[in-house]
């Protein structure tokens, strides 16, 4: 890139350590915790408990509850912005694991409830239906736990794939926040009524410590530190610039932004402090290398929130968390790089191209869009000996072919096999490019992808 319309780009910090995501101890630690919970249950259970079917079922129900409770803490820590986790796994994979564990937790909670009721009814010689009011009347803090369970189910159902398609982000987020109440309500019945805790102050202390530690981590990295950086960087919207059909750039002004150490291709969780935006944070990628006083995000009209950025007024305060992501220039092994962008994916690709060119690499940018009017930021890719810009507008139905299919990709980029391939766009497009690149001989380790949900 030879020309630039913004202030002098910062010197690319090429000496930064490579992110190491292969040797992460986070997930093994998580599974080790599961084993520890199993061992804890094993140590606190005598074989005599199983003399009756009811006793055995209740004991397994307790185990199910213990596992669910432990995994809830694990889930919270995974999305707790804990730096160790972010470095080891990466934000996107953390979110994916958080979602997977969410399914497991809701199912384990249900299993816990069913086993406790059925097992208890066998022990008491009551029907299943009369067992429920009986334990609610006698067991400590079971009413709050019941309400907590309902909240768990609500959060689980609202996060299911089918429901997410019909719920707005704001509604989903509001339901999701209620899980903190659910967890709080469900906690007391564990330590006050759980047979593994009431008799053992040590076990109870450890369990309380697990929850207190989780709460402290969340408070530190999701509340206190973001608030402190909010004060330090004092970010505000300075301009909103329409770029193309359905795409707009949000310029954010702040102080000392190079201290964020953000790289091209990374994203922030951005929250605009104005009515209609305040409640939600969205993952926005940088669309240029950050300067000391400006960040730029190029945002697609994806979902009801992103499309409203055009209404943002200059001066609106901005809160960010991040940067996140491993879609960065230092992932490239080769000096020759192909960047493939689709839709809003052009933002991170634009920032990535800037940094790769600064590092002296040879870059080809392949830009997909539904039509020519959707080719945002195209003017910023000034052709030069080290930069080739290939706009490929048009829907597949109109073109009569998929320009990202292997034979067309080879025609567009003949030397693709010797390049690192970065692809950023909707999941289906990222899949198509990854498949074609593999078919054309690009090693798996040279394919880097970032998905932008649409």
């Amino acid at each position: 890139m030879t020309t630039s319309t913004w202030e002098a780009p910062p010197v690319a910090p090429t000496a930064q350590p490579r992110p190491t995501r292969t040797v992460s101890g986070v997930l093994p630690t998580l599974w080790l915790g599961v084993v520890a919970v199993l061992a804890f249950w094993w140590a606190g259970t005598t074989a005599a408990t199983g003399t009756t079917p009811g006793g055995a079922l209740m004991s397994l129900g307790e185990l199910s509850g213990l596992l669910a409770s432990y995994l809830v803490c694990a889930q919270l820590l995974l999305i707790g912005r804990v730096p160790w986790f972010e470095r080891g796994i990466g934000f996107d994979r953390l979110v994916a694991w958080h979602r997977s564990l969410g399914t497991s937790v809701v199912l384990l909670v249900l299993t816990h409830v069913v086993l406790m009721i059925v097992g208890g009814s066998l022990l008491d010689g009551l029907s299943v239906w009369s067992e429920v009011p009986s334990v609610l009347a006698t067991q400590p803090y079971l009413w709050p736990a019941l309400i907590g369970t309902v909240l768990f189910l609500a959060v689980g159902v609202s996060s299911a794939r089918l429901a997410r398609q019909h719920l707005s982000y704001e509604v989903w987020f509001a339901v999701h926040l209620s899980i903190y109440v659910g967890i709080f309500l469900a906690f007391a019945h564990q330590v006050a009524g759980g047979t593994h805790f009431v008799g053992s102050p040590v076990a109870r202390g450890l369990w309380i410590l697990l929850y207190a530690g989780t709460a402290a981590a969340l408070l530190t990295w999701r509340v206190v530190l973001p608030l402190m950086s909010h004060r330090r960087y004092a970010m505000r919207v300075s301009a909103v610039v329409p770029e193309a059909d359905g795409l707009a750039s949000v310029w954010v002004h702040g102080r000392g932004l190079t201290r964020l150490e953000a790289r091209g291709g990374q994203f922030f969780l951005v929250r605009f402090l104005t009515p209609g935006h305040r409640a939600t944070a969205h993952p926005y990628s940088l669309s240029m290398a950050p300067t000391d006083d400006h960040l730029r995000f190029t945002v697609g009209a994806l979902g009801d929130h992103s499309s409203a950025v055009t209404d943002l007024r200059p001066g609106t305060r901005v809160q960010v968390e991040g940067p996140f992501g491993h879609f960065t220039a230092d992932q490239a092994r080769s000096d020759r790089v192909l960047l493939v962008a689709g839709g809003a994916g052009i933002g991170p690709v634009r920032a990535l191209a800037e940094e790769l060119l600064d590092q002296g690499r040879q870059v080809v940018v392949l830009h997909r869009a539904h039509d020519a009017a959707g080719l945002a930021l195209a003017a910023e890719f000034t052709p030069s000996p080290s930069l080739t810009y290939l706009p490929v507008p048009g829907r597949r139905a109109h073109l009569g072919h998929d320009p990202l299919a292997p034979q067309h990709l080879r025609w567009l980029v003949p030397d693709i096999a010797s390049r690192d391939v970065f692809v950023c766009g909707p999941p289906a497009m990222a899949d198509a490019v990854a498949r074609s690149a593999r078919a054309l001989g690009v090693p798996r380790s040279a394919i880097h992808r970032e998905e932008i949900d649409s």
């Binding site: 005599a48 199983g50 399914t103 497991s104 047979t195």
Partner: protein, 184 residues
């Protein structure tokens, strides 16, 4: 940022398998006779002949708690009278120990003896508490001294339950009440 489909369900299935394996390893190797429970009631056999019947009904998976408890209180009343007959009905200055009825809980029988001196409750001794569960032993070791003190303080069976030992507390109070009733 796509999440692999069914991974959460697979983790759940794995958890169920682990739970099943742990439950099998823990419970499938046990002998039919609950040796822990037997030994705890064996000590009682001499003074309370009815304990054999009770442990038998206990092994029947507590099929009918109300019936068992009612029958037990009847038996306890009759069978323990001989043991305490020399004391019951003697003058109020004497120290009298009355055995309460055995009360079934979901975890096993609870039975206490109450010591009266000059009409006042001075002590409560536990004759039976559920011993089949490891956790029950711990809970009851913690709860029973508290319950005894509560009875002595209240001079009645109107006592608060100890949290985490609800079943034991209620059965304890019932057994104490039956002893007080016998004492008149």
């Amino acid at each position: 940022m796509s999440t692999p489909r069914w991974r959460g369900t697979l983790i759940y299935a794995g958890s169920l398998a682990a739970m099943g394996a742990a439950g099998f390893a823990k419970f499938a190797v046990l002998t039919p006779a609950d040796t822990v429970a037997e030994s705890s009631t064996d000590g009682m056999a001499a003074s309370v002949p009815a304990s054999d019947d009770m442990s038998a009904s206990d092994d029947d998976a507590a099929g009918s708690d109300d019936d068992t408890a009612a029958a037990d209180s009847g038996q306890a009343g009759s069978t323990t009278d001989p043991a305490t007959s020399t004391d019951t009905g003697s003058t109020t200055s004497d120290t009298v120990t009355v055995v309460g009825s055995s009360v079934q809980t979901r975890y096993g029988p609870v039975q206490v003896s109450v010591t009266f001196a000059a009409g006042q409750i001075t002590d409560v001794q536990v004759l039976q508490v559920p011993g089949g569960h490891h956790e029950s032993v711990q809970i009851n070791a913690r709860a029973t001294p508290i319950l005894a003190q509560e009875v002595v303080d209240a001079q009645s069976a109107q006592i608060d339950t100890v949290s985490g030992a609800t079943y034991t507390s209620e059965a304890y109070a019932e057994s104490v009440q039956s002893a007080i009733d016998q004492q008149g």
